[in-house]
């Protein structure tokens, strides 16, 4: 079978130990469901892994006043099933429950999914395969096969939870050698497919904080993939509409993934304010269509996937329009 390269492994029991080990330049591994396939493809050859699996404190999910705190070690299965998540953040439960297949969700953690390496059809292949195309910016080469003459890697952000959490105004807590910091997830990702987060060497993501809705809200996660399981998203759009008591839109957030390496916040026309969901569906869908231009970095025709952004976004909003809004005090 495909074998991983050799590495040393440490499994610290405290976060401080883990940070100290990570600061010495080790690769972090939590559930390993993203890292291990990449290691088997020899996309990375770290000398040392630091496994976070013994850090039990990172697994907690807790309500803290107006904030839901989800430990980065919580598994996607746990998040998808958590009653607090389901009640206040159904789109997060939906996204976590739509990742890959059941066995992967039992291992994959929130922290791992947030840091899921960017993916590309020219990258996530074996060494032999990549050598046949001379590698690329993200592997052993110097060219991009997606954007000819491109200087930046545009491998696709393929996490299901990232667009959702950005739409929900989530923040991420990182513990590092110089202490803790909290960053807005909306500002955490970059357009560089080789290093698409602002995580610093030695930093460990510990917790995601999501503010609870203050009023009625409608959220959805749109994911398209050829199969109903296993596949990564090929289209992904997170939707959030804050509503007033009359169910009129007061705030709309639309965040798309699987374009380049950075999630795309779609600017929604101001005219949606004060309208009912059913009335804004096409408007928002058109805005998403205008802003989202998928690339040939993942399978299926980019123009087709762009078409899906519009159709599936509109349908998701239409569906929300017919559902009672969850949440709200």
């Amino acid at each position: 079978m495909l074998r991983m390269p050799r590495f040393a492994l440490e499994s610290p029991e405290t976060l401080d130990d883990a940070v100290a080990l990570a600061a010495r330049g080790a690769r972090l591994v939590a559930g390993g469901t993203d890292l291990l396939p990449n290691l088997k493809h020899h996309l990375e050859r770290p000398e040392r892994l630091v496994s976070l699996h013994r850090l039990a404190a990172l697994r907690a999910i807790a309500l803290d006043g107006d904030t839901l705190r989800v430990g980065c070690g919580a598994t996607l299965t746990e998040i998808a099933a958590d009653p607090r998540v389901r009640a206040d953040f159904p789109s997060l439960a939906e996204a976590a429950g739509a990742v890959a297949g059941p066995q992967i969700r039992n291992r994959a953690t929130l922290g791992g999914n947030l840091h899921l390496d960017t993916r590309c059809r020219y990258v996530n292949q074996t060494e032999l395969w990549r050598s046949a195309i001379g590698g690329c910016l993200k592997s052993e080469g110097t060219v991009c096969h997606v954007v000819p003459k491109g200087q930046n890697c545009v491998a696709a952000l393929s996490s299901d939870t990232v667009p959702v959490l950005i739409a929900l105004d989530a923040t991420l807590v990182l513990a590092g050698p110089s202490g803790r910091r909290e960053v807005e997830l909306a500002k955490y990702f970059t357009a560089d497919g080789l290093a698409h987060t602002l995580r610093q060497p030695g930093e460990i993501a510990t917790e995601v904080r999501v503010p609870r809705p203050r009023g009625p809200r409608a959220c959805a996660y749109v994911k398209w993939r050829p199969r109903a399981s296993i596949d990564f998203p090929l289209v992904s759009v997170a939707l959030r509409f804050d509503l007033d008591d009359e169910r009129r839109v007061t705030l709309a957030r639309v965040v798309a993934g699987v374009l380049g390496s950075k999630p795309r916040e779609v600017e929604v026309p101001a005219t949606v304010a004060g309208k009912r969901l059913g009335e804004v569906a096409a408007l928002v869908a058109d805005a998403a269509y205008a802003k989202c231009k998928p690339l040939a970095n993942v399978p299926y025709d980019p123009a087709y996937r762009r078409h899906l952004v519009r159709v599936l976004t509109r349908r998701a909003i239409e569906r929300l329009a017919t559902e009672p809004a969850p949440g709200g005090p």
Binding site: M1, L2, R3, R6, G101, R121, Y122, N124, Q125, T126, L128, W129, S131, A132, I133, H145, P226, R227, A228, S229, I230, D231, F232, P299, Y300, D301, Y304, H307, L308, V311, L312
Partner: protein, 785 residues
């Protein structure tokens, strides 16, 4: 008689060895481990077409733990499953012909060391122009396969039966269409694996995940330059095959050679990527069809031109090229027929036989042609098929002798079960029903290498413990052939399945059987087994009759007893009966052979190819839902009625129907096996992430309906069930899509992009021609008028 029904022919049986597999006890090839075993890996080409300038293995050999490195020069004799097209080497000699072609092999102490050694083998290549399009290959002066005798043409077949042009000219309706099948692969979940060891006395034993131990045995002898008696091939429990393990592959030669060189056992397990490179999957075909009909919808003429994309090697391609035309001539009668098929070499993984070898692609085209004709003529598509159905014992236009046919019963069964009559035309826009029919062979009358010996043989013994043993060369590849032979022996000797042992697919222990391909095992091995079991039964009956002083015909073997038919109170345990018989005859052993009829084939050159002892018949009826905004096709349900002659074991036959229908549905909507010409011919995605097999959530409800039209050639009337029920699954879905949204999909697979593009094309047409805006039901009503 109190023998439980389940142990009889036609009953439902637990599969032999299934519990072993379900408890994790069965040892598949990769589960075997021998003392001192080395692990082998193959160095593969990153180029689609290149000359090998030099190979330097010195750095690999210098690595601690590396035992040996071999190259093509160590095994220079070419091989190939078809004796006339031996155009492969175990490892490339002078040229590599596709990305993934094997160049050298290493054996090392463990996998990690072997992988490192692979990295250290330095191969210098001179890159040559690569060709990925078969039409271009046929025009090109660049010769791909060095053994080719006709440029890049690997096989051409042109056959004509009757005056096709005249018939087309005189037809009331001629339907023309061009169809394209892009290619799919088997994707058995078990990757190929082989293990070899050399005994001190020189016997080379190869365990391999193969479905053709006998052909592997022959080719090993040829390439290793050893007498066949010095080689033993064993097929351990197999994790699926579907045609993907039906010829020798590089790994089997490499482990044997490396074991001979190192004098240690050597194992090689393909990575999933290598499974995709070894391929031998369904050929891409471009097919142009013209089909003529008279005013009543009877087929007057069929004319086809087909280009097959063969990939780098011939594999079974000679046969595939024939099958692309020869197997189309049932279940419908053709007034006249002409086909012209050409197979080209290209710089891709070689194509070969996948379940429904050679005839799934033309069946796709043909059944859509029929659907188009039914609409044009205003005839119900099932009715059109009924009108054209051939009858039992008919001779097809290309002189195949059809024995039994349950095709009409198949059509009736799917029509009834699906509610076709009540529902068709009543479903809302976006939902549709489609029908298609097909036929398939139950083995071939002529074996792959010409000889007059039996195609199948078994030995059956009975011993005083009351147990029957079957030594059978047949390969149980998951389809349950071991169970099938046990049921036959149990039926004849009155034994429950648990008293029947099957030892199969070991060339030292078992007589020759040609293997698990072309749906031959039930008919051929079943017949051989029946002969042997009946001979034993007669001996036992005779000895018992003698003891009892009655006529032999009064002795019945059932329920572990010998019973007097006329006085059922007189009975002895089977062990007693066997003791009497063994005392009289010596060891109770019988050899059974089966050879095919040699008087059932066409009287023209090529007329033997496609000739089978018996033909199965199939009808599929699919129900789909098409999202006209996204182009997504959801196959809701498929009813498949399959005439298998006689279901020897109902659960196993249903399993074949369900599995075949699933595989066809997967090829219809999801699966594509292709290379990327824009990137040097790399595989489009050699993994089970990128080559998408449907999950349980993506698979339609499948309703298996067994139809039995017993055939005189088959054991108890049985015909095949393993491949036929795939064919019409695909066009039934295509026709259902048309019924749902009014677009024809003439290219496979029906990806959402393609469906959407077809829908947009239709909308554009409708804007230009308002008449077509009528709802489909109204259009159909118009057509009826």
């Amino acid at each position: 008689m109190s023998a439980p029904k389940k142990d009889h022919v036609g009953g439902w049986h637990k599969k032999l060895g299934a519990m072993d597999r379900m408890r994790g006890l069965a040892k598949y090839t990769d589960d075997l481990e021998l003392p001192g075993m080395l692990h082998a890996k193959i160095v593969r080409s990153p180029h689609a077409h290149a000359r090998i300038v030099s190979i330097d293995a010195s750095e690999a050999l210098a690595l601690d733990g590396v035992a040996a490195v071999i190259t093509g020069r160590d095994m220079p004799i070419p091989y190939g499953i078809i004796p006339w097209t031996q155009d492969e080497n175990a490892l490339a000699l002078d040229k590599v012909l596709y990305v993934g072609d094997g160049v050298a092999a290493v054996a090392a102490i463990d996998e990690d060391t072997a992988n490192e050694a692979v990295r250290r083998v330095k191969v210098e290549y001179e890159v040559l122009p690569a060709i990925f399009d078969p039409e271009e290959a046929l025009r090109s002066d660049v010769k791909i396969n060095p053994y080719s005798r006709k440029g890049n043409l690997t096989k051409e077949v042109e056959l004509e039966f009757g005056d096709v042009d005249g018939a087309l000219a005189g037809s009331a309706l001629v339907i023309e269409g061009e169809y394209f099948f892009e290619g799919t692969t088997h994707a058995a979940i078990e990757p190929h694996c082989a293990l070899a060891k050399v005994d001190p006395d020189g016997l080379v034993t190869v365990w391999s995940a193969t479905q053709v131990p006998h052909y592997l045995h022959r080719e090993l002898a040829r390439v290793l330059e050893l007498p066949a008696r010095r080689i033993r091939v064993i097929q351990p429990p197999l994790g699926g095959a579907f045609g993907g393990k039906s010829e020798p592959f590089d790994l089997e030669f490499c482990v044997a050679k490396l074991a001979m060189i190192t004098n240690r056992p050597v194992k090689l397990l393909y990575t999933r990527e290598e499974v995709f490179y070894s391929h031998r999957g369904r050929h891409p075909m471009r097919m142009r069809y013209r089909t003529g009909f008279d005013a009543d919808g009877r087929i007057t003429a069929v004319e086809s031109q087909t280009t097959l994309d063969g990939g780098a090697y011939s594999s079974f391609g000679l046969v595939t090229t024939y099958y692309s035309g020869q197997l189309l001539t049932a279940p419908y009668g053709f007034g006249t027929y002409r086909f012209h098929s050409r197979r080209a070499y290209t710089n891709k993984p070689a194509c070969g036989p996948k379940r429904g070898h050679g005839s799934v692609q033309p069946r796709f085209a043909m059944e859509i042609q029929l659907d188009k004709a039914a609409e044009a003529l205003g005839v119900d598509p099932i009715e059109l098929r009924r009108r054209n159905a051939i009858a039992a014992d008919d001779l097809t236009i290309n002189e195949l002798r059809i024995g039994s046919t349950g095709f009409l019963a198949c059509l009736d069964a799917v029509e009834r079960a699906s509610g076709w009559k009540e529902r068709r035309g009543q479903l809302p826009y976006g939902r549709g029903l489609g029908v298609a029919g097909s036929t398939y062979i139950s083995g071939t009358n002529y074996p792959i290498y010409p000889n007059e010996m039996p195609q199948s043989a078994v030995q059956v013994t009975l011993d005083r413990s009351g147990r029957a043993r079957i030594f059978s060369g047949a390969s149980d590849i998951g389809q349950g052939s071991d169970t099938m032979v046990a049921v036959i022996v149990g039926e004849e000797l009155g034994l429950p399945l648990e008293d029947v042992r099957v030892l199969s697919a070991d060339t030292d222990l078992c007589p020759v059987d040609l293997g698990a391909y072309s749906s031959r095992i039930t008919l051929m091995v079943g017949n051989a087994c029946l002969n042997a079991a009946q001979e034993l039964r007669r001996k036992v009956q005779g000895s018992v009759a003698k003891r009892w002083g009655v006529e032999k015909s009064r002795v019945v073997l059932a329920d572990r007893q010998a019973i007097d038919r006329e006085d059922p109170s007189r009975a002895v345990p089977i062990t007693q009966a066997i003791e009497w018989a063994e005392s009289e005859h010596g060891l109770l052993a019988a050899a059974g052979s089966y050879n095919t009829p040699k008087d059932r084939h066409g009287s023209y050159r090529g007329g033997t190819i496609g000739a089978s002892p018996a033909y199965s018949m199939t009808a599929h009826l699919a129900e789909v839902e098409v999202d006209d905004e996204t182009g997504e096709v959801r196959v809701i349900a498929i009813w498949c009625a399959h005439d298998c002659g006689r279901a020897i074991s109902r659960g196993l036959v249903e399993g074949q129907i369900e599995g075949s229908t699933y595989m066809g549905a997967a090829e219809a909507v999801l699966e594509v096996h292709a290379v990327d010409p824009a990137h040097g011919g790399v595989h489009a995605g050699p993994s089970l992430l990128d080559y998408r097999l449907p999950t349980a959530l993506d698979t339609p409800a499948i309703h298996a309906l067994i139809v039995e039209a017993p055939d005189a050639q088959g054991p108890y009337g049985a015909k095949e069930a393993g491949e036929g029920p795939l064919h019409s699954s695909i066009p039934a879905i295509a026709n259902a899509i048309y019924d749902a949204v009014g677009v024809r999909l003439d290219e496979l697979p029906f990806t959402p992009e393609r469906v959407l593009a077809a829908l947009e094309e239709k909308r554009k047409r409708e804007r230009q021609s308002p008449r077509e805006k009528l709802p489909l039901v109204a259009q159909a009503a118009e057509a009826e008028e």
